[in-house]
């Protein structure tokens, strides 16, 4: 009652760790069997190795955290030669998260990484700034996002999911543009841009000044965005943002998600994914469903309604 079929992905269950919150699985493999997971979204891979931002890289906020890791990763070559083969010992599909500074970066990485055996789908992290257009993030402009999607689709051997940035005026426009450009699915949301200042020094706690806000604080924003987008696109959505409990998982399904990813909570409780996988079937049954996929979009399926944007 937990299996989900999505483009490229046959999921045993709809629970997977979100990109950047699970590394390449190495540390968690010491804690539990990774084959339990629905899938794994690995840390963003860039063409070259990156050290990322200076520390401090995280700061706590009310029911949330800011991070500015800065895409630290060992680069495409090492990911292909070391990380992916290590993950191949587990019976779990890998979703490769791709980041870059130019369209060519994304295309280059996608072509190569999508050929790897256990990579069943790509996830384009489009919250990164496009250096060619003065640093505006790919994900904040519908056309830039669509163009990137199209170029990656041309070279990818596996289905392509686009990870939407929430820092936009109209997320539906961007979702529709990437669908039109050929995206096979969406993942949403990435972090909200935030900041915290130290009272004693007046300086940002995070060395990078701003960071991405994640955790329970952002869940209502993510639920709203998935609710809006899922009614306007016909590709599936993997939902994320602040999930801690099975009820959070179900709320995402009601809003319109077809699977979910767990980010920050992996830091708070490293056993959260297997715990959710274990307790989800009971809760789904308790609520009167035979299969988790009966929950998808249950909130809007009957009555499609527009959103009143003025609260």
């Amino acid at each position: 009652m937990m299996n989900i079929e999505l483009p490229g992905l046959s999921l045993k269950n709809p629970i997977m760790p979100a990109s950047g919150c699970f590394g390449f699985g190495k540390e968690f493999a010491n804690l539990y069997d990774l084959s339990l997971l629905g899938a794994i979204m690995i840390k963003a891979t860039t063409l070259e190795p990156r050290f990322g931002n200076p520390t401090p890289r995280v700061a706590e906020t009310s029911s949330g955290m800011l991070n500015a890791i800065g895409l630290q990763n060992p680069g495409l070559e090492v990911v292909i030669e070391t990380e992916l083969p290590r993950l191949a010992q587990y019976d779990v599909p890998i979703i490769a998260n791709i980041a870059g500074s130019t369209v060519a970066d994304y295309v280059g990485i996608s072509r190569e990484i999508s050929k790897q055996n256990n990579v069943k789908a790509l996830e384009l992290n489009i919250s990164c700034p496009n250096v060619k257009t003065g640093g505006i993030a790919f994900g904040t402009d519908a056309q830039m996002a669509a163009n990137l999607t199209k170029k990656v689709k041309e070279v990818s051997s596996v289905p392509v999911y686009v990870k939407l940035s929430p820092n936009v005026t109209n997320i539906v426009d961007i979702a529709m543009a990437v669908e039109e450009a050929g995206a096979d699915g969406l993942t949403m949301i990435n972090t909200l841009l935030g900041m915290r200042l130290d009272i004693k020094t007046a300086k940002p706690i995070i060395a990078n000044k701003t960071g991405g806000l994640s955790g329970p604080a952002i869940k209502p924003v993510s639920i709203r965005m998935i609710y809006e987008v899922s009614q306007k696109v016909s590709i599936p959505i993997i939902g994320m943002g602040g999930i801690q409990t099975v009820d959070d998982v179900i709320e995402y399904f009601y809003a319109g998600a077809s699977a979910v990813a767990i980010g920050t909570e992996n830091f708070v409780n490293p056993f959260v994914c297997p715990e959710l996988i274990e307790s989800l079937p009971k809760r789904v049954k308790e609520l009167g469903f035979d299969h988790i996929n009966q929950c998808v979009g249950r909130n809007w399926k009957d009555e499609r309604t527009s959103i009143n944007r003025c609260p």
Binding site: G20, C21, F22, G23, K26, E27, F28, N30, L31, P49, R50, F51, G52, T55, P56, R57, V58, A59, E60, T61, S62, S63, G64, M65, N67, I69, Q72, P74, I205, G215, P216, Q244, T264, N266, F267, V268, N269, P270, F271
Partner: protein
């Protein structure tokens, strides 16, 4: 093995201004491998203070199944922690990190242990273990002032102990490095933990000594996965090599990494 366990508070007492000693019981203690390891503690089940707090294991006893933490109640989380009662349970993840490699000290070598402020706690178990090996150890403990100093008695029972305070209200007035300079000739290996400026001063002044240094960094996961706590490796030409304070550290060899 990293374990997540609800440990019971067996004792909880204030030992100096804002400084608390917390004794926890549970089987997690059996997993501790070395002094200098730490645990990651969730102060309560509310989500507003979302992240766990890293606190060093100050001493432990596997037979009796307890460990002691010593922490300063200053921010929101440690303040809330200090309100917990004996009998309450707290959510602990650990043991984490690699700790002090006491086996790297040769038989003939003597040891100086140098702690500053809230960096003192992990050094206590370290000294206890040297004591069990009958190793001669000198302690230099630095505090801001008498009000916030703690465990002088406990350290004195393990070996010669110098105390310095910035304001001179206890022991010698001044910094640990002053006392170290005068007494270092008898010691071959330095173990230290404390504020970054102190660590830098020690690294600079005693760069020819064998040194083990315990670092602090803001953490996300504490288990090596989020890359919040990295520092660069010294003299790395590629500029992408790094160590994680939580899982490669928190203890590093002197000069091994760049920090602060």
């Amino acid at each position: 093995m990293i374990t997540k366990q609800w440990m019971e508070i067996d004792n909880h007492r204030k030992i100096a201004d804002h400084i608390w000693e917390l004794t926890l019981k549970g089987t997690l203690v059996e997993q501790i491998e070395r002094p200098g390891q730490f645990i990651h503690i969730k102060v309560d089940s509310s989500s507003d203070l979302l992240l766990r707090r890293p606190i060093s294991i100050s001493s432990f006893d596997k037979q009796e199944g307890w460990m002691k933490l010593i922490y300063r109640a200053q921010g929101e989380g440690t303040k809330r922690l200090s309100q917990k009662h004996v009998g309450d349970k707290v959510d602990v993840l650990g043991p984490l990190g690699n700790g002090f490699e006491i086996e790297k000290v040769e038989d003939h070598e003597t040891v100086m242990i140098v702690g500053g402020g809230i960096g003192v706690p992990p050094l206590y178990e370290l000294s206890r273990q040297f004591k069990m090996q009958n190793k001669k150890v000198t302690h230099v403990l630095g505090f801001q002032s008498r009000d916030v100093s703690f465990y002088q008695e406990e350290f004195s029972q393990l070996g010669l102990t110098f105390v310095t305070t910035v304001d001179g209200t206890e022991g010698t007035k001044g910094f640990v490095t002053d006392v170290m300079r005068k007494n270092i000739k008898d010691s071959d290996v330095i173990f230290t933990c404390g504020p970054t400026p102190m660590l830098h001063a020690i690294e600079e002044t005693f760069s020819n000594h064998k040194r083990f240094i315990s670092l602090e960094e803001r953490m996300g996961c504490g288990i090596g996965t989020c890359l919040a706590c990295v520092c660069k490796v010294n003299s790395d030409s590629s500029d992408t090599a790094y160590k994680k304070v939580c899982s490669d550290g928190p203890v590093f060899r002197g000069g091994e990494v760049i920090y602060g």
